[in-house]
């Protein structure tokens, strides 16, 4: 597992290993043996690094680590490159809303040219005695809503289309 740390504007890829003797942090083309032990006080630790014992205070949030060291506070932003990448993919790049099953359009809340936000309702359809709300898969501009309320449609008919995203 890798981490991308941001310290003072610098992006530093980091990973951790463990030799029989203890942890080794790999960063900036170096491998440095280190250990972190609790000490007196809330958030107080002693970092053993290259023969030095460094007292520091530390607090960890979801996305950052805050360290009080030698009288100064530092904020280290942490990202898991994997998390970021995995989230990036879902649902992106979809332009057309395709009918999941045949049915009838109940209502249409947007028209061509309207700017919509991701998740905003585009139209409501009825099928198999159930009403389903279809919403925008991404931010964008509506290009087309081919069916009017009351009109029927078939499986996989395009019910709404967003204008293609500009790069």
């Amino acid at each position: 597992m890798r981490r991308l740390l941001e310290i003072g504007g610098e992006q530093i890829p980091v990973w951790l290993a463990h030799t029989g003797k203890g942890y080794v942090v790999h960063a900036r083309d170096r491998a440095v043996p280190c250990a972190l032990t609790c000490s007196q006080g809330r958030g107080a630790y002693v970092l053993e690094l290259e023969g030095r014992s460094i007292p520091l205070r530390l607090a960890v949030s979801e996305t950052a680590t805050f360290i009080h060291l030698y009288g100064r506070a530092y904020e280290i932003r942490r990202t898991d490159p994997a998390d970021r990448l995995v989230e990036g993919g879902a649902g992106a790049g979809q332009d057309s809303i395709v009918a999941p099953m045949p049915g009838v359009v109940v209502s249409v809340t947007v028209g061509p040219g309207d700017r919509v936000e991701k998740g905003q309702t585009l139209l409501v359809i009825e099928s198999m005695k159930l009403e389903t709300t279809l919403s925008a898969p991404r931010d964008g501009v509506v290009a087309e809503v081919p069916f009017a309320p009351g009109e029927g449609f078939g499986l996989k008919d395009v019910l709404a289309r967003l204008a293609p995203e500009e790069e």
Partner: protein, 411 residues
Amino acid sequence: MHPGYGFLAENAAFVRALNAAGITFVGPTEDVIDLMGDKVRARAFVAERGFPVAPAAIEDDDPASFVERARAVGYPLLIKPSAGGGGKGMRVVREDAALEAEIETARREGKRYFGDGRLFVERYIERPRHIEVQVMGDGCGNVVHCWERECSIQRRFQKIIEETPSPALSPEQRTEICETAAGIARAVNYRGAGTVEFIYAPDGAFYFLEMNTRLQVEHPVTEMVTGIDLVAEQLRIAAGGGLSHAQAEIRQTGHAIELRICAEDAFADFRPAIGEVLLVEEPQGAGVRVDSGILEGGKVTTDFDPMLAKLIVHGSDRAGAIARARAAVQGYVILGVTTNTGYLDAILAHPRFLSGDVSTGFLAEEAAVLTARGEDVTDILVAATALSDGRLVRAVDEIPEMHRLMGAWRN
């Protein structure tokens, strides 16, 4: 009703509403608030009574004689659009030959930016200090001052370190500037706590800038050296109890410094920082006072002023106060939101600050030094961050021992 030192403290309409409701306002009368809230009127009022104001000329007073009056202000001078703000269209003129051309340029810029070409000029003070004086009046003509505060350490026109006494003033100047402030307060028959601000030029000249008709953020330094509780004093005056001290009884003892702890990134143009306060540990000990508005678990958002707390220290002399301030700010642990503690410490350590050689431009002039990266502690930060990252440590621990120990072996 004590209005604190926020927006309501200088709002005359608020005071009128309180009066109408029969509630006593802790502060001056609405007339004084109105007068001092209008910069032009306040300046004219002070000048008319013989107190020093920076030489200036306002075009509107008599457009025909504007250039002549501007010349009389003396050089260097600053041309400003009447309708302006934010530094737009301002021009510094250092010699007479350039004056008329610069006035024309400034007029064109004023028209372009503000649709209004009217101008005014004032004396341009180079390397000015900001020195202010705490005054207390009983509203019955009695006014005392509680000495000065030096507030020249400013970023984005906002103070972040204040101290008293000012290292710039000789005893004679100190008396003169403080008496001037008390005189101005007396002239408006001031009631309650107020502050008279001055621009102080390197040659020792000082000019009235404005009067704040309320308690100031930096009032604790005054309390630390005088031993007077200014808020108690405000309440006493509001209750009709008058002043508790005669001028001769108010003495400056030792030296006090206030540091404003702000949620901001001093290394990124003082961009306000947000976050959740995860851990707070305030410095303690003799001569250390913390006025704080944060608790662990609290959220810091941009909805409010970035100031989180004030750290005030007192020492027997300036060097002692600085040493104590440094120790205190270094020991002030605030984790979860970026603060300016490291930056404040860098200011305290700067040779020009140590020698008292500062002006309102100090932080901008020394920005490179003050925001220089110190000793490279990246390795320490990286190691501590990695080892305190539970998911990362677990991921390593989950690798079977043998494979962990083999490392990145390849055949």
